[in-house]
């Protein structure tokens, strides 16, 4: 059951990523906003990856859990964006 809820949240992440792509396709200004948001999120992602020990102690989770979460987030964004771009 734990795997089911993790999978559901992963799918939710993928769909959210596709939704952001859809918003970006509405208007050039929306595209810029989403591009800025993506760049900021990527910066935060990199920082979290570099400062994994500090962030894990801040969030009170293990380092391996944090790394798994970061990888899952990256995969969800890549899959969602890929599905939107290829459709």
């Amino acid at each position: 059951m734990r795997a089911m809820y993790l999978a559901n949240y992963f799918v939710a992440g993928c769909i959210a990523s596709s939704f952001l792509g859809w918003i970006a396709s509405l208007h050039p200004i929306a595209f810029r906003a989403i591009a800025f948001l993506t760049a900021a999120a990527f910066t935060v992602w990199c920082l979290c990856w570099l400062l994994d020990f500090s962030v894990s102690s801040l969030l009170k989770i293990s380092v391996s859990s944090l790394q798994a979460f970061l990888l899952a987030l990256l995969a969800a964004i890549a899959i969602g964006a890929g599905v939107f771009l290829c459709s």
């Binding site: 089911m4 559901n8 949240y9 799918v11 939710a12 769909i15 596709s18 859809w22 599905v83 459709s87």
Partner: protein
Amino acid sequence: MQLKMFVLSGAAVALWLVPLTALDKRIGWHKSMQGLTLCAAIACAVTAGNIAREQAEQNEIEEIKTRAITADVVDEIATSAYISQQQRQQEAEQILNPREHLERSLALSYSENEESEPITQKQLAEPVAEPEQNAESERAERALQLKAKGWGKAKIILEVWGVTKGGSPKYKAAEAEYKRLIEEGGE
């Protein structure tokens, strides 16, 4: 609940993939439909995830309960085995050496009360006439020893009578006897 979760998961995936692949992005209302279905898909996926998380937490609680019950049963079995072993040991001691017990109990009663009559060889040679009294005096001796060591009442009752603390009639009887023996020993 599980069926609902599976339906919501399936609906989320369908609402995500089908409109994106089937509808044309260049047509206005198609694009709007895509946005709506994506929103609905996110809602379905999050709801399904929440249901699955609740189920997982309930399963975890059930597992903890099962583990606690198992540990309790194992503990009870171990305690009863320990107590029965002690009882067997006491019975075996009583059967094997009744004369020594009599001597010890008589010696105790004599030392506590100097006015009582001295023990004669004839008395010592007699077999155990009252095993119940004998066992009681042994319990008293043991309880006093343990009390002198600083043991608590419940622990002494468990050690000497083999009864765990609670509201059972056995425990109440043992407690009453313990109080009586301690009072007698204190006099």
